[in-house]
């Protein structure tokens, strides 16, 4: 990472930290504390740890709810700042559906995230979408707690 970028990153990290303090009471990511300033600002780790790379969906739904909006707002802000990244939004479904439909459902979720980020000013040319349907679960138990983690759209940074 270049020095300029790092400087910009550091400044941005400060802004994020302020936001986090304000949001700590109501936000869904209580693990975000000032301790994460050890993560290099503007890095992929920064994005995952301090911004949040994924949003979740209700069963059979693709609408962006309040907690997803909060994450995507931060993603948009971060991506506005670190303009060199392009992204792939990977849409996923839980295992409680058929394969073909879940491929389309994952694509629909990825498209919903894409639309949201574009509305927040991210250039569509920076965004690719991809659906894995139900083929790439992160949680493998046979319970609602796992299925809800798998119904997700993950924003993956594609390098600078």
């Amino acid at each position: 990472m270049s020095k300029t970028l790092f400087a910009r990153g550091a400044r941005f990290a400060a802004v994020v930290a302020v936001c986090l303090v304000a949001a700590a009471c109501s936000q869904t990511r209580p693990e975000l504390t000032s301790g994460n300033s050890s993560v290099a600002a503007g890095s992929g780790q920064d994005f995952v740890v301090n911004v949040g790379d994924r949003v979740f969906f209700l069963n059979n739904q693709s609408s962006i709810d309040g907690s997803a909006r909060a994450v995507l707002d931060k993603q948009a802000q971060w991506l506005q700042h670190y303009k060199n990244y392009s992204i792939t939004i990977e849409g996923h479904a839980d295992e409680r559906g058929t394969r073909q439909y879940n491929i389309a459902l994952g694509a629909r979720r990825a498209a919903a995230v894409r639309e949201y980020l574009v509305a927040k000013g991210i250039s569509p040319t920076r965004i690719k979408t991809l659906s894995y349907g139900k083929e790439r679960p992160v949680a493998v138990c046979n319970a609602a707690s796992c299925w809800s983690q798998n119904r997700r759209a993950v924003t993956v940074l594609n390098g600078q």
């Binding site: 409680r96 058929t98 394969r99 073909q100 439909y101 659906s131 894995y132 083929e135």
Partner: protein, 454 residues
């Protein structure tokens, strides 16, 4: 494989005539039953009536000369296994046979076979030829009429012995039921290995009974939903090659692979038209998936649907005039039938739950589907007019039916509960009573049946 009708050759007989023979065989059984045996139900292949009492049949261990002794025994075992798995036959344990040591030339002592309750008898011999090939002969006997129903001989290479067995099974099945068999067929499927969150998926092919598994891809790329061409040794499937999920065409004989079309987005859920000349599939366009048709010769694509919905899993009627597919255009996944030009879509499923993965039977009379209701996954069939829905199997997760080429059996996959669980391939016949696991080396999903081999 050369195929010679020998030994009292019979002309190709029509279904009606075969059915008459089957009836006569059974009718004879009933006559005898009055004296000493329980009555056996007629083989009922218009399977809407529920359970079918399998026909007792004896497959006398085939005689083998010289090197072919083992092969001969194995062939008769595979024939017995084929017929047993169909659910329509009950092979009698060879140790219970009274007349032992038969070859294809031995005249059956019909009384002995009647004594053990056998209605039909298969005998055979395998002999080594000077050119390295084997000669296989078999006969099918009507035990009660004391008549030969089939006599055939084949020449093939010894490695081909399993196919030989399946061909004999098909001949017996067809002669006794009036329906074409489905044993000399293969199934393409997705082999799944490794932990659930990093499953390696490979395109694979096996005989319909699970033997001779062969891998067609190496597992570097995610592959899904293979479908067999109804007329050639080609498969269409979805692959994530290069992180760009697209529908591909794969030639099993040459190993050649090509992407189908130049679509501006993800394509998926492909299926051949009945003549094998077109592929119908979904194209993802933003939030929506629409159906497209691609002509394999001209490479022209035609858009068939245009809705703000997910339209997927298209499947042609056998005459090619209609297409069944699933869509959530009405709010939840349901089945629709439309003309093959995309006009006149009509919803046909109205029960509680969601309907998915419709597949038109090669006979045209039924559409198989996956149904999800209250967390249960079912395989069922429905008539193309939306009437006569029947659930054939139900459980935690059953998915993705595909028809046998004679339209009498469905294969599908069943996922098991738990972190160590995974999908396995099963078959179920149209009664819903005869479920069979197909043994595979790893987990397996998305089975799709080949046509009868040439």
């Amino acid at each position: 494989m050369s195929f010679v009708m020998g030994l009292n050759p019979m002309r190709t007989t029509g279904v009606k005539q075969l059915w008459r023979h089957a009836c006569r065989l059974v009718a004879a059984a009933v006559t005898v039953a009055a004296i000493s045996q329980p009555a056996y139900a007629l083989i009922e292949l218009d399977i809407t009536q529920g359970n079918v009492e399998p026909m007792p049949i004896a497959i006398s261990p085939f005689a083998g000369s010289g090197l072919q002794e083992d092969v001969a025994g194995q062939i008769s075992q595979v024939v017995a296994a084929d017929l047993q798995r169909s659910g329509l036959f009950r092979p009698i344990d060879p140790t219970a046979h009274i007349q032992q040591g038969m070859n294809v030339g031995t005249m059956p002592r019909f009384g002995d076979w009647r004594t053990i309750g056998s209605q039909a008898l298969v005998t055979g011999s395998i002999a080594q030829q000077a050119n390295g090939q084997i000669r296989a002969e078999f006969r099918l006997w009507d035990v009660f009429a004391g008549q030969q129903l089939i006599g055939q001989q084949f020449f093939t290479t010894p490695e081909n012995w399993r196919r030989l067995a399946h061909i004999i099974s098909d001949a017996v099945y067809q002669r006794l039921t009036g329906e074409k068999g489905y044993f000399d067929t293969r199934v393409v499927f997705i082999d799944e290995s490794g932990p659930k969150d990093v499953r390696r998926k490979r395109l694979a092919i096996m005989d319909q009974d699970g033997a001779n598994v062969r891998y067609l891809t190496r597992g570097d790329d995610l592959v899904l939903t293979p479908r067999f061409s109804p007329v050639s040794q080609e498969v269409t499937y979805m692959s994530y090659v290069g992180g760009n999920p697209q529908v591909y065409l794969f030639n099993i004989e040459t190993g050649q692979r090509e992407v189908l079309g130049n679509f501006p987005g993800m394509t998926f859920a492909p299926r051949f038209s009945p003549d094998g000349q077109k592929v119908i599939m979904s194209l993802q366009q933003g939030s929506n998936a629409n159906l497209y048709l691609m002509d394999l010769r001209t490479r022209r694509t035609t858009r068939l649907t245009n809705t703000a919905a997910i339209d997927t899993s298209p499947s042609f009627s056998p005459d090619g005039s209609l297409v069944v597919f699933e869509s959530d255009r009405g709010g939840s996944q349901q089945l629709y039938v439309m003309n093959s030009n995309g006009s006149g879509a009509t919803r046909i499923s109205f029960g509680p739950g969601q309907y998915s993965t419709p597949v038109w039977s090669p006979r045209g009379d039924l559409i198989a589907f996956t149904k999800v209701h209250q967390g249960r996954f079912m395989i069922g069939v429905i008539r193309p007019d939306g009437k006569g829905e029947r659930i054939l199997t139900e459980g935690y997760h059953n998915e993705g039916p595909a028809w046998s080429p004679n339209g009498r059996v469905l294969t599908f996959f069943r996922d098991t509960v738990g972190e160590q669980g995974g999908p396995q391939v099963w078959t179920v016949d149209l009664t819903g009573y005869n479920e069979q696991l197909v043994q595979t080396p790893n987990f397996a999903s998305d089975p799709a049946w080949s046509p009868l081999l040439d």
